[in-house]
């Protein structure tokens, strides 16, 4: 499997890999390790703005790279269920093979779940 330069860079550096704790942090996860792809996002939110974001991923390099990028981009934005860019744009950005598009949907679900944790707690 060949990877594009940005895919390799985000896969190898994996910025924002980890977890967040404490007040104002919300967590969302999707997928399953047994089925080969699992992604989790933690976001720390203050008055609707994301102060910090982390991810964990049991996944292929494309998925790890995309999840890392999403966490990186999120910081400073306001909480929304949508990803910073569409799954189509994401798959272009990281040259994700067609058969792997489903894995980006797992990222989308995990992110939406994290965002939902914030919205559903009365904000």
């Amino acid at each position: 499997m060949r990877y594009s330069e940005p895919t390799l860079r985000y896969f190898k550096t994996a910025p924002g890999a980890g977890v967040l704790e404490g007040a104002g942090t919300f967590r969302g996860a999707a997928g399953s390790r047994a089925r080969g792809t699992w992604v989790q996002f933690d976001i720390k939110v203050s008055s609707g703005t994301i102060l910090a974001a982390r991810f964990l991923a049991f996944a292929c390099p494309h998925t790890i790279a995309a999840a890392a990028w999403v966490a990186e981009q999120a910081v400073g934005r306001e909480v929304r269920a949508a990803l910073p860019e569409s799954v189509e744009e994401l798959s272009k950005r990281f040259a994700v093979p067609i058969e792997k598009r489903g894995r980006l949907l797992i990222i989308e679900d995990a992110w939406a779940a994290a965002a939902a944790g914030f919205t559903t707690c009365g904000h």
């Binding site: 190898k12 047994a34 080969g36 991923a57 049991f58 996944a59 292929c60 390099p61 790890i64």
Partner: protein, 409 residues
């Protein structure tokens, strides 16, 4: 010790996929190519160029035969073990079709055995696929139990290409002999130079060999076809090959080469390379085994410190050149991507790794899909050094720790 790893290149630990050609073998091959050398067509009986080539071909045939306990006239040159497996399985099935249409094999065979068996199922044969135990071993009693009155062929490999597990071929041969109608084919592509092979001593009927797994060239192999008398049921002097021994229908027609079993110009340089490679491998086998076993153990112990790792294949019954390990908490493709710049290993047989599917061999040993995918096969070889092992340890430990951190495992 010629290291397989040239400076600046990843450490090569994929000797089960293929090996570099021994420089002595490469030199012998070069002598059969250009105008100054023996470039004649070994099939040309009308001049000295052909005679000289034919003499080299027969000398190579004897080298291979001696190193595996066979007779020279039992050696049929092929383009590799894939062709040898196809010739053995289709050739025996078609020749003995009137004696029966049942074949026994195992779930951990190479695709070059499984795919011909599936094709035969499509053509109306019945195939029994034996399941190995968790260590990859097939109990000879399973073979005995699977035999049916109309079983014509049993195909079980000697050394598994993914786990290095060694089957008890001699015991299976005895069982087939008692049955009387079942011929035993053994895919020994991974055996030469790793494990003593004794075609006659084992009592095997058909055996596939390959040169490029043992420091010989790619694109050449052989099928050993027993000419021992005391033929089995269905051997009423028929068949292309000989009166005594096993009979086969050829796959490839168009010349009397190889007893009419395999038409086509015999590539002198290729068989000369295979002959010498087998001779050298047999001579080096025991010394190699001792050295590589200690390197393999060094690798295993080093990895063990990571925790959460599983060794695939029964360690007590496997060749010292192979180590197959599954890593918990890391995804297979990412593991490979994380090591591949500095380490050349395989996540399954080279023949299947083009497909992104989990190793069917490890699945057959009971590993989960995830653990089958997160496995690495370390294939040690003549060129492997302690330095190579230590580099591999550093690279793999770094990658596994980092990926486990990313996956929260």
């Amino acid at each position: 010790m010629n290291s397989s790893t040239a400076p600046g290149r990843p450490v090569y630990l994929d000797h089960a996929a293929t090996t570099p050609v021994d420089p002595r073998v490469a030199a012998a091959m070069a002598h059969c190519l250009t105008a100054e050398g023996e470039f004649g067509n070994p099939g040309s009986t009308s001049h000295a160029y052909g005679d000289a080539a034919a003499t080299l071909v027969e000398a190579a045939r004897a080298q291979v035969a001696i190193s595996v306990g066979a007779q020279p006239d039992e050696v049929v040159w092929t383009s590799g073990a894939t062709e040898a497996n196809n010739l053995a399985i289709f050739g025996a099935a078609e020749h003995y079709r009137d004696s029966g249409r049942h074949i026994v094999t195992s779930r951990t065979e190479h695709k070059a055995v499984l795919d011909p068996c599936r094709e035969l199922e499509r053509r109306g044969w019945r195939v029994t696929y034996l399941a190995p135990d968790g260590g990859g071993m097939i109990d000879p009693a399973q073979v005995a139990a699977a035999l049916q009155p109309d079983t014509v062929l049993v195909s079980i490999m000697h050394v598994n290409n993914e786990t290095g597990v060694i089957q008890d071929i001699a015991a299976m041969a005895a069982i087939c002999a008692r049955h009387g109608g079942a011929r035993l084919h053994v895919d020994a592509a991974q055996s030469a130079g790793k494990r003593a092979v004794d075609f006659a001593g084992f009592g095997v009927d058909l055996m596939s060999l390959s040169a490029h797994k043992v420091y010989g060239p790619k694109g050449v192999g052989a099928l050993l076809v027993s000419r021992r008398s005391g033929g089995k049921r269905g051997d009423a002097g028929r068949g292309a090959h000989s009166d005594a021994g096993v009979h086969l229908q050829a796959l490839q027609f168009g010349g009397r080469q190889e007893h009419g079993l395999r038409a086509g110009t015999v590539p002198t340089h290729q068989v000369v390379g295979m002959g010498l490679a087998f001779e050298l491998a047999e001579a080096a086998r025991q010394a190699d085994a001792v050295r590589l076993e200690s390197l393999r153990d060094r690798l295993w112990q080093g990895l063990a410190s990571l925790g959460g790792i599983l060794r695939n294949g029964d360690a007590a019954h496997s060749v010292p050149q192979l180590l197959n390990v599954s890593f918990e908490g890391v995804e297979g493709e990412s593991l490979l991507a994380a090591v591949r710049d500095r380490l050349a290993v395989s996540t399954g047989s080279a023949c299947t790794s083009a497909l992104q599917e989990p190793s069917y061999v490890l699945r057959a040993l009971g590993r989960s899909e995830a653990l089958s995918e997160s496995s690495l096969r370390f294939g040690l070889g003549r060129g492997s050094s302690e330095q190579d092992i230590d580099t591999a340890l550093t690279v793999v430990k770094e990658a596994v720790s980092r990926l486990r951190r990313i996956s929260g495992a």
